[in-house]
Chain length 390, copies 2
């Protein structure tokens, strides 16, 4: 980053944060009168009563709603298209994304396709997307029940084109949520391993955004605080999921990391992970990132020395004079969160797949490689994959 | 602040920051087709060519403009009313505030009165204001040429009712600027003493917002960074006004302090200063704050010990174990900025005025006393005034 930097900040989202704050859904000014609530195909939104709660709070706020409940953990384009058609047919004028990143990202993509004709991939930049301009987007309300994606504080949505094995991020000013309610009480039921996967996703949004060559004074501020909070509180939230203080700190760390994504950018670690879960949709995004991370960050250790030491300092609260202190702290954090022994082969990845991952990472989210501290060669990318493979 | 805090953040303003970034006025999407440019009655906007530059950049952006150039350093209601009438008559659909806080604050108040009937004081809460709800506000573009008020990043506007000697802050969601362009190159011509007054205004927005009982995790993040930047770079900007790096750091510190005002609040130091400059409009706001500050912060030294030590740590970059370290650092910073010997009597203040200041501070901006670390008695307020008087 330049010593006299030039940068923008524009985050139009209203963030409402705090334990119990889901209740504000009944009193906040909402951006429409009839909502489509988008949730995953899993059972948790119903089992824990979150869906009923949201429907009731919307009703209290004089707002009708319908539910679309088919979203997969790695959300796919055909569901976006189906839900957008229902949305138009039933006259919904805003979308509520309730759940993890998959539901909220889908809500954003549905909000795009409810107002624009053709296919979602017509609007995607990258891969085989056609990059058409988006005319209008329905307003989105985001209610995360996980702490990881940061999608509540950024315009990004990541959808997989299941026919083409492309998993690509997209966003425009209209896909910033109008309102996001982050209530850590909705996160206490997340099991330990998912808490860790999601929390590390947030951690890498911050760490990648901090070493990105497009980082800015404002993204740095958000990133270092997110890194500090997640390093300190994620291990506690993993081992004691009912600890509301730890859940709240992790949730806030994740939202801050979302603000990093709005003011800086992820780097190619995310492209490389997206390639893996495009081919193996069962692989949780956070688990893939954790598997890649040591080799990935090792690669730039001598390119971003001061920034590695800064990250180490907020993680350890001690002076650092070696960039490897960051790698050491990262490894300790993974051990503390019981995710040190992730084996990509457990999710079906084969070693012979790795070369085609390199190509997919370049093809679909190749733009993020431009933000790395220095350009990576294909050989280096393959090496990161190989070192990460077990 | 609570360990499980509940808070909101909603800053719809687009901030464009950087040396030379004024040029973006020609390319950014503007919120209207005909602007009223509001500047002060002084000569600097014309002398340094800033007004011509802004008119030309607007023209490049297919936008017409007219100029209102009567704003006083402590801006008054009659100018707001006059400009709003011209604005309606001439069909302006947005307002550009160009200059210091007085011009930008006036731009916001004019934007209110261009869309609402009656008198500006009908809408003011506090003092003799009637607190009527504001219906609509014209969009505002803020172009600060000073680093102090932070008004480019908050909804607040401070106008003096010259007939009633009330100087009161006002704001609503509509008075957030739609766009703010912060170009440190426009600040190099500010003379040293004004650089110091304005920079300390920003510093106190951050420091008050940090000890305020309504501080939040996000306001704390902004506040500590603003305090760090201003403590380090304000003395350099004062002694070497052409130092663009220092100007940029101070400008960014001031904008961050504006974000503090949008996410926490000033405390009663600001009420006490507003009372003084309501009676003595020649007294620069920042000079009044500097004069009050040592006695003011001394008063809460034992109420906010941890927060004082945190502020001292970012100012000195050393561990602190005594809250008085903050007061010491504040005094050293004032000395380094050549503003240690401010005498309120130089601006005409008389010692016998002080008791009526207590009443005015309570009457007009009494709300801020609610955010102090603990409630102050009238006797304590008078004592702060007396200790500050020379």
């Amino acid at each position: 980053m330049n010593s006299n930097p030039i940068f923008n900040m524009h985050i139009p989202t209203k963030l409402v944060f705090g334990c119990g704050e889901i209740k504000k859904l009944a009193t906040e000014k909402l951006p429409g009168k009839k909502a489509m609530i988008v949730i995953s195909s899993g059972t948790s939104m119903k089992k824990y009563g979150y869906l009923d709660k949201v429907i009731n709070l919307l009703t209290e706020n004089d707002t009708a709603s319908i539910v679309y409940d088919k979203i997969l953990p790695n959300p796919i384009k055909s569901h976006v298209m189906e839900a957008a058609a229902i949305c138009r047919e039933r006259g919904c004028d805003f979308i509520v994304g309730l759940g993890g990143g998959s539901s909220i990202d889908s809500a954003k993509a549905i909000a795009v396709m409810a107002c624009n004709d053709g296919d979602y991939w017509d609007y995607i930049q990258g891969g085989t997307g056609k990059g058409r301009p988006v005319k209008k987007v329905l307003p989105v309300v985001a209610i995360p029940t996980t702490a990881g994606t940061g999608t509540e504080a950024d315009p990004w949505t990541v959808i997989t084109n299941e026919e083409r094995q492309e998993k690509i991020g997209f966003g425009c000013p209209g896909t910033f949520p109008a309102l996001s309610i982050i209530d850590p009480e909705l996160m206490v039921s997340i099991p330990p391993h998912l808490t860790a996967y999601q929390g590390f996703d947030a951690f890498f949004h911050a760490a990648e955004g901090f070493i990105a060559n497009c980082s800015t004074p404002i993204s740095d501020l958000y990133a270092l605080e997110a890194i500090r909070l997640l390093a300190k509180y994620l291990p506690i939230a993993v081992s004691d999921g009912k600890n509301l203080k730890a859940r709240a700190k992790v949730a806030w760390g994740s939202t801050l990391a979302g603000l990093v994504e709005s003011t800086s950018s992820c780097t190619s670690e995310h492209s490389m992970e997206h390639a893996m879960s495009a081919f193996y949709p069962e692989l949780p995004h956070g688990a893939g990132l954790i598997a890649l991370s040591e080799a990935y960050f090792e690669t730039f250790r001598n390119d971003s020395m001061k920034r590695y030491m800064k990250m180490a300092e907020v993680m350890t609260q001690q002076k650092s004079n070696r960039p490897s202190d960051f790698i050491d702290a990262l490894v300790r954090m993974q051990t503390a969160c019981n995710v040190r022994d992730i084996r990509l082969s457990d999710w079906g990845l084969k070693e012979e797949d790795l070369p085609k991952m390199v190509q997919n990472a370049r093809d679909t989210m190749g733009g993020l490689f431009l933000f790395d501290p220095r350009p990576l060669t294909d050989e280096e990318i393959l090496n990161i994959y190989k070192k990460s493979y077990r």
